[in-house]
């Protein structure tokens, strides 16, 4: 028993230390901002345009992610070809790409002197420094979270059920609605929530690729960074709003994750 305690104390210390590192900054952020300061910060001229822009662009990004990501994930999960595994890994790379690298890559792809830049410039549609650039940056960093979750969910499907529905004459689309969605939606919703939270927090690639102009490309994280030097209070208030939004998304995610478990085993609840 003494030996066991010798292991437990350092383990407890390590766990508590990690907990402090993770939670203390969040606690300090929220504790250091009284309701009056929060309201004052929310009235800062940078705040309202940034909130609006972040809300709109992150929702558009989410829509693009879901509309494009769902069939893409389905194809990834259902295709047994050799190259697909490599492609799947490649689609995950943005998750671990440093923001500055993502920004440079986006400029090289869609910037004025980039691969597509000469093409889009020819039709008079410059992308960099527009809200479109904000959305592209958000999709680039956030869609992989959704694709990863959706691909895993589609792989876990019950093959027998799928086969059964098809043998009963359901076409693919109908099978998707009647069999796939009911089974996979909690995972899809979870991936979507994570992707949305990541999109709303996007900073580095946006700053490089979309620029920093209040009302046009300055999202909340950019407004926070800009306000940090002149008005810490506004930066803090905006940060509290962002943290609250992310926390809300994760809470919703947890609630969603619990639903099917209760349904499957009603005796437990």
């Amino acid at each position: 028993m003494r030996g066991r305690r010798l292991v437990m104390i350092p383990a407890g210390v390590a766990a508590a230390t990690l907990g402090v590192v993770l939670l203390l900054p969040l606690a300090a952020l929220i504790a250091g901002c009284s309701p009056a300061e929060l309201i004052a910060g929310l009235r800062h001229p940078l705040t309202a345009p940034a909130l609006r822009l972040s809300a709109i662009t992150s929702l558009i990004s989410l829509a693009i992610t879901i509309i494009g990501g769902t069939p893409l994930s389905w194809w990834l999960a259902r295709t047994q070809r050799r190259g697909v595994a490599v492609l799947e890994v490649a689609l995950r790379v943005p998750v671990v790409t440093p923001p500055a690298v993502a920004g440079v890559a986006l400029l090289l792809a869609f910037g004025r002197r980039g691969v597509l830049g000469s093409l889009t410039g020819a039709v008079g549609a410059d992308i960099a420094f527009t809200a479109t650039a904000v959305v592209i940056a958000q999709v680039f960093v956030s869609a992989p979270f959704y694709i990863q979750a959706a691909t895993a969910a589609f792989r876990d499907l019950d093959e027998d059920q799928l086969m059964a529905s098809k043998s009963l004459g359901a076409d693919s689309l109908r099978a998707f609605y009647t069999v796939v969605l009911p089974a996979a939606w909690p995972a899809l919703a979870g991936g979507a929530a994570l992707a949305w939270a990541r999109a709303i927090g996007e900073f580095g690639a946006t700053l490089l690729f979309a620029g920093n102009l209040s009302g046009r490309t300055q999202t909340m994280p950019l407004a926070i960074y800009t306000a940090l030097e002149s008005d810490l209070q506004a930066a803090q208030a905006l940060s509290v709003v962002l943290v609250a939004a992310a926390f809300g998304a994760l809470l919703a995610l947890r609630a969603v994750e619990r639903i099917p478990r209760h349904r499957r085993s009603p005796r437990r609840s």
Binding site: I9, G12, V20, R112, D126, G211, N212, L213, T226, L228
Partner: protein, 271 residues
């Protein structure tokens, strides 16, 4: 302890563990930073916080100083002066601070008389190939993408100053500049990057930023639109090594070096 819960930490130990982990955490972080990063807080390392526009020039001056004084460690950190000021206010330890406008060092305790070490002026710049064909200030009306500094950054302040002069001469041009502004950068380095990448058509930077650069070029402005700026250094620590470097940076020899690197010659009233 009941055998059913082999890995539970006794509840009464929890507060002790929390209390214990603060020094452990601090020690771990300090060990990690000093051990791995090799940063030493010894007296012979002098940290200089300098405006973004001083990057190249100060690196060169530091190289000269190191050659003359072997064994001295100098760390030059550059960013927008407002960013550096905020960092110092939040406890960053800088020994010397050289903002791009003297007001950014206001209220900071200087261990020496603040000294103007170099002078500059605001320049209108374009990418080297000048895609929008900007030849004078009126042409800015057809520059689709203008990039400036944020109002809090010195370069943003000076650009506003310049815009006020333009406004008095030609309100349409000033309006066009505001309407065509696509991004506000946190330091002049950001503006310069946009121009060098060809993402912006025009931007306001410092004359010295264009020194020996082939990817950006200057659009000459008439004398009446010239906005002059100067860099005032303050000494923020008592370290002898910091004072020695401060005196070197503020010396006549260094001022000549600044002038040879594209900085404007200071007028006698400025120093």
């Amino acid at each position: 302890m009941p055998d059913g819960l082999p890995y539970t930490v006794p509840v009464r130990l929890v507060p002790h563990i929390f209390r214990a982990c603060v020094p452990v955490l601090c020690a771990a972080i300090m060990a990690a930073t000093t051990g791995c990063v090799g940063e030493r807080r010894s007296d012979d390392t002098v940290t200089v916080y300098a405006a973004a526009s001083l990057r190249g020039a100060l690196d060169e001056l530091a190289a000269v100083y190191r050659a003359e004084n072997p064994g001295h460690r100098i760390r030059v950190e550059t960013a927008g002066s407002q960013q550096l000021r905020a960092r110092i206010h939040h406890g960053a330890r800088a020994d010397i601070f050289v903002p791009a406008a003297s007001r950014f060092a206001e209220g900071m305790p200087s261990y020496s008389e603040p000294k103007v070490i170099a002078c500059n002026r605001v320049s209108l710049a374009t990418p080297a190939d000048n895609p929008a064909g900007i030849a004078d200030i009126e042409d800015l009306a057809r520059a689709g993408r203008i990039v400036v500094g944020v109002d809090d950054a010195p370069i943003g302040e000076f650009t506003l100053q310049l815009l006020r002069v333009i406004e008095s001469e030609s309100p349409e041009t000033a309006d066009a500049v505001r309407a065509n502004t696509v991004s506000r950068e946190l330091s002049v380095a950001g503006v310069l990057t946009r121009l060098a990448l060809g993402e912006a058509d025009a931007g306001f930077v410092y004359a010295s930023d264009l020194y020996e650069r082939s990817d950006v070029s200057e659009v000459p402005l008439p004398q009446r639109l010239q906005v002059n700026t100067s860099y005032q250094a303050v000494l923020l620590s008592e370290k002898p090594a910091a004072r020695a470097l401060f005196n070197f940076i503020a010396s006549e020899q260094s001022r000549l070096r600044f002038e040879s690197m594209g900085f404007r010659r200071c007028s006698p009233t400025e120093t």
